[in-house]
Symmetry: C2
Subunit: 214 residues, 2 copies
DNA sequence: GGGATATGTTACGTTACGTCATGTAGCCAA
DNA sequence: TTGGCTACATGACGTAACGTAACATATCCC
């Protein structure tokens, strides 16, 4: 996950190397201001004008880099994503538990939680944005989950007919559901309970070194 | 579920019975136009002006009844909700399966699916709206699911320590997740697979009259 | 220095929200 | 029948944000 960017604009269709170069500091200042504002007021109330003001930059300078507010926001989010937490280890149950807990952290501790509602609305109306978001944020995450499940199957801890997508959705879905729809707080024991649910269905005898309590 | 309305406005703070009465036809025309537009263009691109035009009504007439566009939309949605599908019957597994399938229908066949993304954004920014939506749409539904689970516990088909909220979220969450975030289509076998997941964890021996195949 | 691009400033066009003012239409009660 | 009250249509308005354009200036590379 290195240096991901969303369609950095080159006005006039050129990608020219001549002329005055862009100030990289400006890019950073804009992204920083965006993250800051997102955390304060959420997606809908972020205005490009205010972002520009805080970054000490003019509005056209923002639009020269990102064609739409939504793209700016996606890229700002990517810079805030928590790093991959070390290498996988432990049983399938432990791995899934760790991934679920990390997702909870991301949704809870980073600005993502405040941003997601507005972003969801934009994604529904802007296919390109939806694509970016899924590719940059959702995709990489899913790969890690998928890998964990497949390792579990390989070790015989999960049944060979395990429905991978169902497992991912069963663990992640309720989190987004609470965040976006019901507004209910996320229970401290959610991760464990959800993983138990999955293991009860797809876990094999060998998986009963699982970290559940009941 | 009879005659639910969202804060019908009475201008000037009066709830007076004097003066010219509102034309009930006008209310219906506005709601109908709203549903129609929602289905066509989704939440974000619904404009009150266009709603008014289609309803053959002026803009202030709309605002006289609903203080905000979002409230109008919620009420329009309520009129579109599918009716309770008969009385509960069958095993806990069958009941949950039926409820899940009905939720899929609601999200797929009614305008709710197109509306939800935009509504989610508004709810995040408008606590009052969120409250209305949860009370009018989410709440009644949840009660039915909860009742089904509790009947299952009562009949001994579900374990007595069944985590009711977890069950509801595990069945409904992934649907919203797919709809709002991943954009993946909802698999035909989702309902059955998800119910299986729940029964594997919370079903008792007695529940094995369950309608699962494997 | 000259060509090319970035940047700031300022202004603009567009859209939609939500409100207000005015005149007219329709109900009720005295 | 008359007066009071409210609904309604029309048209205009204020506000706010998006996204773009024009122009002058700054900064880079050759």
């Amino acid at each position: 996950m290195t240096q991901i960017t969303v369609a950095p604009r080159r006005p006039g269709g050129h990608g020219g190397d001549s002329g005055r170069p862009r100030d990289p500091q400006t890019d950073r200042a804009i992204l920083r201001a965006t993250v800051e504002l997102l955390a304060e007021v959420g997606y809908l109330d972020v205005s490009v004008a205010e972002v520009a003001r805080r970054a000490g930059v003019s509005k056209p300078t923002v639009y020269r880099r990102w064609a739409r507010k939504s793209q700016l926001v996606v890229e700002a989010l990517v810079t805030q994503m928590l790093p991959d937490n070390a290498t996988p280890s432990g049983s399938a149950g432990e791995e899934l538990l760790a991934l679920t807990e990390q997702l909870i952290s991301t949704l809870t501790l980073t600005p993502l939680g405040r941003v997601l509602p507005g972003l969801v609305a934009e994604m529904a109306a802007d296919a390109e944005l939806a694509h970016s978001y899924r590719e940059l944020v959702i995709g990489p995450n899913r790969s890690r989950w998928r890998a964990a499940v497949e390792r579990g199957i390989g070790r015989g801890e999960l049944a060979s007919d395990t429905d991978v997508d169902l497992v991912l959705n069963a663990l992640a879905g309720p989190l987004y559901f609470s965040l976006l729809i019901t507004g209910d707080p996320i229970d401290d024991y959610y991760a464990r309970a959800a993983v138990d649910l999955v293991l009860a269905r797809y876990g094999t005898a060998r998986a009963d070194a699982r970290p559940s309590r009941r």
